[in-house]
């Protein structure tokens, strides 16, 4: 999105030369307009008493902010909002810290083969869908599952990780870390590899031990990417992870685990309350957009980060 001053006039010859470029973009552009922009326009549903048979932009009855007033008064909505923020907050914090810690520790392993092996195994969960991981977790963490067998073996009581409101959020947060920490460490490992080895040399000559080298050389060397990752993760304040929660939760833990996305799904798709569900979705979209925009702006400002 860099702007340059244009001096040349736009001529017919230039138009002809650039025409094929427009044609190349056209198919993808059409799909994006249809499947991204039309649904954005479809957000008018939030202000309508929506009846599906009349169609997306049909002759619907308008009802102003009635849908918003209705959903904001629902206890289920407030509960979902709270859960979303709590779960998302911890996922952002731990999702930032754990990969950094993992990258630092992995960097201390000198054997390349051992390091490669650890990486290969730890990246793996990232590539599995939450259906697969959910299936595994539901089995492993069930009351008769292997984790509770181990707890019983240690003389502890069984914990119903996924069915108890006291444990559900913690389980969700840590299992998300489990899926993503290895993969998340890639960018940090790359940053560590990019640090000039002469800096370590100099630090050693100055008498720095390993901890001091990590603190004064490695971490400052990673500062840019850490700030960037922190800033970019701000956009997720209302993203508690639909794919995960949907595959792990059950009515027993709605109290602690129901999030905005699952709330919208049940309200809109299962109960067919399209107007109110869209209102909730729109609330989430607007808040998220503000946060994402701010985070991109900060990343651009402080890390000179540009997407395009």
């Amino acid at each position: 999105m860099k702007k340059k001053g244009y001096k040349k006039k736009y001529t017919a010859a230039m138009f002809r030369r650039e025409l094929p470029l427009h044609f190349m973009i056209l198919p993808g552009l059409a799909l994006v307009l249809l499947f991204s922009y039309v649904p954005m326009g479809g957000l008018v549903m939030a202000f309508q008493d929506f009846i599906p048979s009349k169609g997306l932009f049909g002759d619907q009855k308008w009802c102003g902010l009635e849908n918003f007033r209705f959903v904001f008064s629902l206890p289920g909505f407030n509960r979902a909002l709270q859960n979303t923020i709590i779960i998302a907050f911890w996922k952002i914090v731990l999702g930032l810290l754990m990969p950094i810690l993992f990258a630092l520790l992995l960097n201390e392993i000198r054997s390349v083969r051992v390091s490669k092996f650890i990486q290969t195994v730890c990246y793996l969960p990232y590539f599995m869908s939450w259906v697969i991981l959910g299936g595994i977790l539901v089995d492993v963490l069930s009351t008769s599952g292997i984790v509770n067998q181990a707890l019983n073996g240690l003389g502890m009581d069984s914990i119903f990780f996924l069915g108890d409101n006291r444990y559900f959020r913690t389980t969700a947060i840590w299992s998300d870390i489990w899926k993503n920490f290895g993969y998340g460490a890639i960018v940090y490992l790359a940053a560590i590899l990019g640090i000039d080895t002469e800096l370590y040399e100099a630090a050693r000559i100055d008498g720095a031990n390993r901890w001091q080298q990590t603190w004064h050389v490695t971490l400052p060397g990673m500062r840019m990417i850490i700030v960037l990752m922190l800033v970019m993760s701000l956009g997720n304040v209302l993203n508690a992870g639909f794919d995960q929660i949907f595959n792990l939760y059950s009515p027993a833990v709605y109290e602690s685990g129901d999030i905005i996305d699952t709330f919208v799904y049940r309200m809109g798709v299962i109960d067919a309350q399209y107007g109110p569900a869209t209102a909730v979705g729109m609330f989430k979209s607007v808040v998220s957009t503000i946060f994402i925009s701010v985070s991109y702006f900060l990343a651009y400002k402080f890390a000179d980060y540009r997407i395009f």
């Binding site: 190349m24 973009i25 649904p39 479809g42 599906p52 201390e108 793996l124 599995m128 259906v131 595994i136």
Partner: protein
């Protein structure tokens, strides 16, 4: 070599233990599920299975392999991947090529960039998208699983960053020889960017294979579920209607649990197969694409 200090040795021992533990946490659940899937019903329900199959049997796999619904879902997934991956790649290349030009070579670049970039900031969300698919009469169609996610702006960004790394001289030489934009794109850029195209293809494949929610959302009938959606209903939600009441007799030999584990493993098998290839490329891809920007 300098001698290691005592504290360094202690640190390294602890560090190896931590790393070993993390590796175990990532690996053991998968091995446990694999062991369960090869164990007998009685051993599984008695909780005897740890990391090795107990009373080894392939009954669960035979049972799954004999289910029409399972193969139906596999075929659906293969169809989805077969259409979705090539289509996505073609569209990604076609968008990335013009956008990799500088603004003075392609006047409307900035406009297009904003149109695509805005979709990364804002979205209409679940319900309007769902109603749109209904209005388009695309419910239960394979196109509902392919077209809405055919253009991934993130992949476009990755691709155009690779395209930008290709020496300008190649393009100029081609244009002097009379090649148009399409020819330059597919004769020069695509062959040069083949490793990155392979990477993005693998990512797209994994994405399509793992995607389960759209299959659930955009299908009225469960026979149109791709494998991931089918597994979601069978393995996670444990929908007995899909397992079939007439199979209760069969369930005496094989437990619900071992069958679930067998299906979990079969569901992740394709990802495990392509994983070594993905791993070979993705480190470079991610770093180049997301950090250097």
């Amino acid at each position: 070599m300098r001698k290691k200090s005592v504290s360094r040795i202690v640190f390294e021992i602890i560090n190896y233990c931590v790393m070993f533990l993390l590796t175990a946490i990532c690996l053991l659940p998968v091995i446990h599920v694999l062991a369960l899937s090869f164990s007998s019903n009685t051993a599984a329900s008695a909780g005897l299975v740890k990391l090795l199959p107990v009373e080894f049997t392939t009954y669960s796999y035979q049972y799954v392999a004999g289910r029409k619904e399972f193969w139906n879902a596999v075929l659906r997934s293969l169809l989805r991947v077969g259409i979705g991956v090539p289509l996505s790649m073609l569209l990604t290349i076609l968008i990335a090529y013009p956008l990799s030009k500088e603004s003075d070579k392609f006047r409307f670049r900035t406009v297009y960039v904003w149109i695509f970039f805005f979709t990364m900031l804002f979205s209409g969300g679940l319900i309007p998208g769902y109603i749109l698919i209904q209005n388009l009469k695309m419910m239960d169609s394979i196109w509902a699983l392919v077209l809405p996610i055919a253009v991934s702006v993130y992949n476009v960004v990755l691709m155009l960053n690779f395209f930008r790394g290709i020496p300008r001289e190649l393009e100029e030489a081609a244009q002097i020889d009379g090649a148009g934009h399409l020819q330059t794109c597919f004769r020069i850029y695509v062959p040069c960017a083949l490793p990155s195209i392979a990477t993005i293809s693998l990512f797209t494949f994994v994405g399509h294979w793992n995607s389960w929610f759209d299959g659930l959302l955009f299908s009225n009938f469960s026979q149109n579920y791709p494998l991931a959606s089918y597994l979601q209903t069978v393995v996670v939600k444990r929908d007995m209607a899909l397992i079939g009441a007439g199979d209760l007799q069969a369930l005496q030999n094989i437990s619900d649990r071992t069958v679930r584990c067998a299906q979990i493993f079969m569901g992740m098998l394709p990802v495990l197969v392509v994983y070594p290839f993905v791993q070979k490329y993705f480190v470079k891809g991610i770093v180049v694409g997301s950090v250097k920007g």
